[in-house]
């Protein structure tokens, strides 16, 4: 969007308060949604919970196609539709709620850098595992992705998506990586997050920010999703402060909802 369009959109956003009937759309939770989409959706839900804004989660099979950017999750607030964590954070800020107002410039830079680290490493690793690792693709991804569609559409759409993701991986240089290298990258990322978190309750000490929501979304999903083998979740389980961090956020912000508890 051009600068003018963005300014206009945030003006419109600022005039109305957060409505009661805001909804978040994602794919079908039990049968269709994949690891990476689940992580992104959980991150947005955590963020909205942290801001204390009511949101209803609605599962639709065609959520990916409804979204303005093609990515889930997206929220429908008033008469506006916003997708992905970054724009949602800005939208919520325009409405007057923000988690990172108390940070100074250097801390905000750090927060943005860590969010990019999570997106760059964890999200890309999840996508790689889902779409470029043949075993996972065959057993889990294809059947889940094409679940709501009849034959042959389910196969066609799954292959199309796989081709797209593989093309993107090649463009950013992940095309030649082996699974072991990807897992090593995940380990490096978790180590960096663990070192940054240290013994603090949240990344920027007392108050959670959007970085905490993002990290929670990804780590919790990795820990609780059943894949072919446990290698990915083992990498995260090596860091006890990250596990404690996930449990803390789950208890503080999600305990009144139905959720599969962390073991």
């Amino acid at each position: 969007m051009s600068l003018v369009a963005e300014a206009f959109a945030s003006q419109v956003a600022a005039t109305e308060p957060w409505p009661e009937n805001a909804t978040l759309y994602q794919q079908l939770k039990g049968e269709q949604i994949l690891l990476s989409d689940n992580a992104s959706s959980l991150a947005v839900q955590a963020f909205l919970q942290m801001c204390d804004l009511p949101i209803k989660v609605v599962c639709r099979a065609n959520a990916e196609y409804m979204s303005p950017s093609g990515k889930v999750p997206f929220i429908h607030v008033g008469n506006q539709v916003v997708s992905e964590l970054g724009p949602i954070v800005q939208f919520v800020k325009a409405k007057g709620h923000s988690l990172s107002d108390g940070l100074d410039e250097v801390q905000k830079a750090e927060m943005k850098a860590y969010m990019e680290l999570v997106n760059n490493m964890l999200l890309t690793a999840e996508l790689y595992l889902q779409w470029c690792d043949e075993a996972t693709v065959g057993e889990i991804t294809h059947s889940r992705y094409g679940y709501p569609y009849p034959w042959p559409l389910n196969h066609i759409l799954a292959y199309q998506k796989q081709w797209e993701v593989k093309r993107k991986m090649k463009a950013i240089g992940w095309g030649n990586k082996t699974l072991d290298q990807v897992l090593e990258d995940v380990d490096q990322c978790c180590q960096a997050l663990s070192q940054r978190l240290g013994t603090q309750p949240y990344f920027f000490n007392k108050q959670p920010t959007e970085l905490d929501a993002l990290v929670f979304g990804h780590l919790f999903t990795i820990l609780t999703t059943q894949l072919i083998n446990d290698e990915l979740s083992e990498k995260v389980k090596n860091y006890s402060n990250l596990l404690a961090f996930c449990r803390r956020i789950e208890q503080n912000y999600f305990e009144d909802k139905e959720r599969v508890p962390l073991r």
Binding site: V106, K108, E116, N120, A171, C189
Partner: protein, 274 residues
């Protein structure tokens, strides 16, 4: 024990302009860090699309490297390449890992948290700044046809000089469109506007982080400084017709001072524009 590690120019299969660094292993000091002082050397530097050679060169320089052009065969066509005895390592990240395993490390005095910060900032650079740098060098028509293409073509032997720059340009455009060109940005102009906005924000963040200190983590340069330098120096020094990002960078005086400091400390001759 003197071991010669040489950066080579990839030869037979795909000659590309490369950075050439010869590294002499220094006797280790008490910390076992094995860091040497920069030896005088002559330099012929070529900017690659993502400043990779500069990064490796800065690190090499700090470890006592002298730069000399060499041409050897083999290699996958990736630039820069480091060969040490029988190992051939390409790509900056792998080279840095390799050097680290050989106990050459610029990050010994960093705390764990600072090491984590390094990773995070590198991710930020690659995500926000790299698309715009790629665009400035390889996609923007005026820049590409007037500066980048003749520069690279002059170093590559005919007839590859007709093919390779075009291929690199297409690869850069591909990368930008695949990573940033998702809906609702449908037109290349909107994608360009978005990536330049991100890049300017990223430069502002870097400037805020650097503040008034000499390097990013105090007084001694580290891997992060090498990375940032690798991205910023070509942007800062090369003379382009279309200079949007360069103008923005020049307004951030502490980043310019940072580049100039590293250039004067570790690159004895002035930065050759080719």
């Amino acid at each position: 024990m003197v071991q010669e590690l040489l950066f080579h120019q990839a030869g037979a299969s795909l000659p590309t302009p490369a950075l050439h660094v010869a590294l002499q292993q220094q006797p280790r000091d008490e910390n076992g860090a094995g860091r040497g002082r920069a030896l005088p050397g002559y330099q012929r530097s070529q900017g690659r699309q993502d400043g990779g050679p500069l990064r490796a060169q800065v690190l090499g320089r700090r470890l006592g490297a002298s730069v000399c052009p060499l041409r050897v065969s083999g290699g996958s066509g990736d630039v820069p390449i480091l060969t040490s005895e029988d190992n051939i390592v390409s790509q900056p990240a792998k080279i840095l890992n390799f050097l680290r395993k050989q106990k050459y490390n610029a990050d010994y005095q960093l705390s764990a948290k600072q090491g984590a910060d390094t990773l995070a900032y590198i991710a930020l650079l690659e995500e926000k700044l790299l698309p715009a740098v790629l665009h400035t060098f390889w996609v923007e028509n005026d820049n590409y046809f007037n500066v980048t293409k003749p520069w690279f073509a002059s170093r590559i032997p005919f007839p590859l000089s007709l093919i390779l720059p075009g291929r690199m340009s297409k690869r850069a455009l591909n990368r930008i469109l695949l990573t940033k060109g998702e809906p609702p940005l449908y037109h290349l102009k909107e994608v360009e506007a978005q990536i330049y906005r991100d890049a300017k924000e990223c430069l502002n963040l870097l400037s805020n982080r650097l503040g008034t200190s000499q390097f990013f983590f105090g007084d001694i340069p580290t891997t992060l400084d090498a990375y940032v330098f690798g991205f910023l120096a070509p942007l800062y020094k090369v003379h382009f017709p279309k200079v949007q990002l360069q103008e923005h960078l020049k307004q951030l005086t502490n980043l310019c001072r940072f580049c100039d400091d590293i250039l004067s400390c570790y690159f004895r001759l002035s930065f050759a524009d080719g």
